[in-house]
């Protein structure tokens, strides 16, 4: 019988939650790396026992960990992220030039086919790659070299490259997203990049239709339709059916179209999930009611999912890397909150249950479906 492993990164350590395919009884292991901020923990699709973790702290900076046994034991690998050439400057919050400085790894995206190859999205925004299991990292400098880099400006959380999507049908194609520069695509394995922000409108920037400067919070795709992308922007839920060349808004009847997470049902490429958040200054759900909203039509028509979720006095946030789906026959959906709960649905979102309630604030959630 299949089983599921949920990898949870929190402000004070990482946790591994395990269940069989029924997904009703869970074991909680951890904390791993207690006391450290775990921005992201993700397993290799090519070898589920290979897991990578981003570990950081204000005292001692960045560490990257790797496990070869499904998270039982770990070893620190290379943590040297050196920008290619002279890093130059991006914009600071006040519009002045600010030197590019490495701060942390936000996201680790293992290759779909090779356990030793991983892409890392970092702050200040850049993408790095290892091809030796983390023993060394090198920047894919074409992204910052695109030419718009000096115009990039940080979002409130920093100038972070937080989303990396690998096209399963084309190993040369990847998508990334940066707060608050926008989305970019490469069609040559990361050598060169194109901004893909046409159709995004952001009222909070001087030119609402600018080529770069949009605060993209998350992008998701279904592996069977890699040209269709769904985006939760700072405000607005967006959709593209041409690999990001053009976007259109699909917020529809959402009560608020601000939010961070977005994901796609593994078995239904037009079924998508968001967690609406009240506003960019009030990072909590509307009216104290934690609700996942689901669209079965790829956007525009949405329904609230509330069964098992707190419907009063709930003022948590769900951060951008904190939702994931498994690949069982009935798709499991998982998300973590800044209040330390990890909620799971084993029925595509119809009903929810807290796997665990009192972890440190959750930064990221990933799922591995094991044979």
């Amino acid at each position: 019988m299949s089983s599921v492993r949920v990898l949870v990164g929190t402000r004070k350590g990482a946790f591994i939650l395990s269940s069989d395919g029924k997904r009703d009884r869970w074991e909680v292991a951890g904390p791993h790396f207690a006391g450290w901020e775990m921005y992201h923990v993700k397993g290799s699709p090519a070898d589920p026992n290979r897991i990578y973790a981003s570990q950081s702290s204000g005292w001692s900076g960045q560490v990257v960990q790797r496990s070869n046994d499904g998270g039982k034991t770990w070893e620190a690998v290379d943590n040297k992220f050196t920008y290619d050439g002279v890093p130059g400057t991006h914009q600071w919050y006040d519009g002045t030039a600010h030197p590019w400085e490495f701060k942390r790894v936000w996201h680790l995206e293992p290759s779909l086919t090779d356990p030793d190859t991983v892409f890392a999205g970092i702050e200040d925004a850049a993408i790095f790659k290892t091809a030796d299991g983390g023993k060394s990292w090198a920047e894919l400098a074409g992204l910052r070299g695109h030419g718009s880099g000096p115009k990039w400006q940080p979002g409130a959380g920093g100038l972070c490259l937080h989303t990396i999507l690998l096209d399963p049908s084309n190993p040369q194609r990847m998508y990334i997203a940066i707060s608050a520069a926008g989305a970019f695509r490469t069609d040559d394995g990361g050598a060169s990049w194109t901004p893909i922000n046409r159709g995004l409108r952001s009222q909070y920037i001087p030119d609402p239709d600018a080529e770069v400067g949009h605060c993209v919070h998350r992008i998701a795709m279904h592996r069977s339709r890699p040209g269709t992308l769904f985006m939760q922007k700072h405000w607005d839920v967006m959709r593209s059916d041409d690999a990001g060349d053009n976007w259109r808004e699909v917020s529809g009847n959402l009560p608020t179209d601000f939010g961070f997470v977005i994901d796609v049902n593994t078995n239904e490429p037009e079924t998508i999930y968001v967690v609406p958040i009240k506003s960019d200054s009030e990072h909590f759900p509307m009216d104290g009611k934690l609700q996942v909203w689901r669209s079965k039509s790829g956007g525009n028509e949405w329904e609230p999912l509330t069964k098992g979720l707190p419907q009063s006095d709930c003022y948590v946030n769900v951060l951008r890397d904190a939702m994931a789906v498994d690949s069982l026959d009935q798709c499991g959906v998982y998300f973590g909150t800044t209040g330390g709960q990890v909620y799971a649905s084993a029925d595509g979102g119809d009903s929810w249950k807290a796997i665990v309630r009192d972890l440190p604030a959750v930064l990221s959630v990933e799922v591995q479906t094991l044979p």
Partner: protein
């Protein structure tokens, strides 16, 4: 020469170190001690000083013999009591953060 080093608890755990470490340093300086410490415990690379610039991380400080050595520079000579093994070099994490 053998230098005794005490690390903050979170770095001892990261590098799987129990208690005090004794480092065979090629010179009586913080730089030489850290060079040897990082060679022996690669997990510590980048956690005490920046890997590129060599600059000490701002939330970590170096103390010995009840003196703050943090601003003496990495090549300043360590106190005699540290060189002779009577006192450890303390690497201390700031009491800060949440």
């Amino acid at each position: 020469m053998t230098i005794r080093v005490e690390l903050p608890q979170f770095l001892r755990r990261l590098a799987n170190i129990q208690g005090e470490v004794q480092v065979e340093a090629s010179a009586a300086t913080v730089r030489a001690v850290l060079d040897e410490l990082e060679a022996r415990y690669p997990a510590l690379r980048g956690t005490i000083r920046d890997q590129v610039t060599g600059v000490r991380r701002p939330f970590l400080r170096f103390f010995a013999c009840q003196e703050d050595l943090s601003h003496d520079g990495p090549d300043a000579p360590l106190p005699e009591a540290v060189v002779e093994g009577r006192e450890p070099l303390l690497i201390v994490g700031a009491i800060a953060g949440g």
